[in-house]
């Protein structure tokens, strides 16, 4: 079953139709094999890039699609539904363009943004470190000013696309002033002194490379600092507000895929002489799964529409990330249940969906941190 959507314009409808076609014909058929072999699908991003999907929510004057988040996120959901690693990758790329697009000077944007949105390049977002996960302000990677450059030294951890990315939006410490001592840099992927470690051996999302990023006296032009010195953490966190909406949309896409698989299986599998969907015990499970998918979608779309209208949306984005990723965990777990023993094997995709769902509760702020963000906003209100 395809997700039923309400879209604001005819071009958005055409866009979703195009994304569905590409997802069905180009992404879905390759997903299982790439995930099994743990191969990063760089070509898939080139195809999506040529189609314009790597720049959808950014202004047309820089080569973007100038689409509202309401539309971009639904396109992203369709991609993730066919192939989670690619959906997450698109979301990470879009987030990696955020700091420059929203806080770069005109000169910086004119110089770098068009190439970043054109589709040939792939970005990464480098905030986390081994000792600075949930507590991002504890990051220790140093950027020391030296003439016209900064010299970067340290190790970023858990970086999606590490080693594959053409540029990194990277947070490093320019002073010891805690959260106010961090700055944001747009670091070219081929910078001497920048190397990626061995990929993490993950439970799921195995097509998406995650690795450490080592910086040894890596020289980055001071012109590539985005925003003022000390503004980096604020930029990183506001990138995450939008990024979390992307993860919420990906989680909904994944949950939708699991639901579709479960419903199709339940219609054709018979036990006790009847299709198993005819047993109320199972039918109610499926109904709860559908309700979880629909409500998660509604939640991220509400946050997206607030963002599109220029309203504050930090709390709503945290809520959407929390609700959608918990829904994905529940729905994928239940999808395995619906398929019984078959669901527990690698011959069916639902066990992979379950493994992929788990990480969405962890990255871009664990779901405990989402609650922290929500509570902080409540206290502030």
């Amino acid at each position: 079953m395809v997700a039923e959507r309400t879209l604001p314009t005819s071009e958005a409808e055409d866009l979703i139709a195009l994304v569905r076609e590409i997802a069905r014909d180009e992404l879905a058929p390759k997903a299982a094999e790439h995930e099994e072999r743990e191969v990063f699908p760089r070509d898939a991003f080139r195809l999506l890039g040529r189609t314009g999907l790597l720049g959808l929510p950014y202004p047309e004057r820089f080569g973007g699609g100038e689409q509202p988040y309401e539309v971009y996120l639904q396109a992203l959901e369709e991609v993730a539904s066919a192939w989670m690693s690619v959906g997450v990758g698109v979301s990470v790329h879009v987030m990696s363009c955020y700091a420059l697009a929203n806080h770069g000077t005109d000169e910086q944007r004119d110089r770098w943004l068009p190439d970043m949105l054109a589709g040939d390049l792939l970005g990464a977002y480098a905030l986390s470190e081994v000792q600075a996960g949930s507590d991002a302000a504890a990051l220790a990677t140093r950027a020391v000013r030296d003439g016209a450059d900064y010299v970067l030294t340290g190790t970023k951890a858990w970086i999606s696309h590490a080693g594959h990315a053409d540029f990194y939006t990277l947070m490093a410490r320019t002073s010891d002033a805690g959260a106010r001592g961090i700055s944001c840099f747009l670091v070219p992927g081929d910078t001497p002194g920048l190397t990626a470690g061995a990929p993490e051996r993950k439970m799921g999302l195995t097509g998406s490379t995650t690795a450490q990023l080592h910086l040894t006296d890596a020289r980055v032009s001071a012109q590539r600092r985005i925003g003022a010195e000390g503004q980096g953490l604020a930029l990183a966190l506001s990138s995450l507000d939008s990024g979390r909406l992307g993860i919420a949309a990906c989680a909904v896409g994944l949950a939708q895929a699991a639901l579709d698989e479960a419903v199709a299986y339940a219609k054709q599998r018979t036990q006790f002489g009847r299709p198993i969907i005819d047993f109320q015990g199972l039918e109610f499970l499926l109904a709860d799964m559908a309700a979880a998918v629909d409500s998660a979608r509604a939640t991220y779309l509400d946050a997206a529409r607030r963002r599109d209208r220029g309203l504050p949306f930090r709390r709503q984005a945290a809520t959407a990330k929390l609700i959608a990723t918990d829904a994905a965990m529940k729905v994928t777990t239940d999808a395995v249940q619906v398929l019984g023993g078959a669901g527990y094997t690698r011959d069916f995709p639902v066990e992979r969906y379950l493994r992929e769902a788990k990480v969405t509760q962890i990255f871009e702020g664990t779901n405990q941190i989402q609650r922290l963000v929500i509570a902080r906003e409540l206290r502030r209100a």
Binding site: E11, D14, L47, R50, T51, G52
Partner: protein, 260 residues
């Protein structure tokens, strides 16, 4: 180079396709409809020729109102403009009538150098329209092309057959029909989607083309479908136990089915 490319909206081969109970014509509402894949290849070939030689690509479609979706897809891929002949009188037209209408419609476009069609639509599968249209237009026909090259006003195509590769050559203007192997069609881009909204689509009726509505459609058709039955549901198939002679058994089965 001025290229006209024929496009058709067909039921998506991914969805179940049905004939209507009353007149055995295609039930166009029962299935998702898409631009026929062979037409995507025709459009792709037209765009590649335009990119190499300059000029303009016009998508031409005969079909009901909703066939504008096929037209739009061609425009999104990069065609410059479109002509859409839509008329209730055309319902049930056979290949000859369709070709006559297409010929008239091609006549409304100035200075056509090349007409490109798919060799066979995935719904009717008559595979005759390109040849009939070439006859009606008095153009040389280079059908079932796997490869097209244009140099000056000479067009050369390759056609693969069981016996080898045929090279066909003609002087422009000409008509080409393309095979499935000719190219991999591009996807539209989001920019293409946005640009297509501003591209002109000329909509014409049968009367606009100077044809008599009474002479087209089901009543004017030279062929009629008398009977249609849905294909039988798929059966469970035969299971071959492999006791070391699995290969032989499969071969025997295929021989029995006259497949080898």
């Amino acid at each position: 180079m001025n290229i006209v490319v024929l496009v058709k909206l067909v039921p998506d081969t991914y969805s179940e396709r049905k004939l209507s109970d009353t007149d055995h014509t295609l039930d166009r509402d029962s299935a998702d409809a898409v631009l026929d894949e062979i037409n995507e290849r025709a459009v792709e070939e037209a765009l590649q020729l335009k990119e190499a030689h300059g000029g303009e690509v016009t998508a031409l479609c005969v079909g009901p109102d909703r066939a504008v979706d096929a037209v739009r897809k061609a425009l999104q891929m990069g065609a410059d403009k479109a002509v859409h002949v839509s008329d209730a009188a055309l319902h049930g037209s056979d290949v000859i009538t369709t070709a006559k209408v297409l010929a008239k419609a091609v006549g409304t476009i100035d200075g056509v150098d090349l007409v490109i069609a798919g060799n066979e639509a995935s719904d009717g599968r008559a595979g005759a329209v390109p040849a009939i249209l070439a006859e009606l237009l008095g153009l040389p026909q280079l059908t079932h092309a796997n490869k097209v090259t244009v140099e000056g006003d000479t067009i050369t195509v390759e056609r693969a057959t069981d016996d080898g590769v045929l090279h066909l050559q003609a002087t422009l203007p000409a008509l080409v029909s393309v095979s499935e192997k000719i190219n991999e069609p591009r996807y539209p881009s989001f920019k293409g989607i946005m640009a297509a909204k501003k591209k002109p689509i000329t909509t014409l009726t049968v009367a606009d083309l100077g044809l008599d509505p009474a002479g087209v459609g089901l009543s004017g058709a030279w062929t009629a479908v008398l009977e249609a039955a849905p294909k039988p549901p798929r059966t469970a198939g035969e299971r071959v136990e492999d006791n070391g002679d699995g290969g032989t058994k499969i071969a025997e089965y295929l021989v029995g089915q006259k497949l080898i």
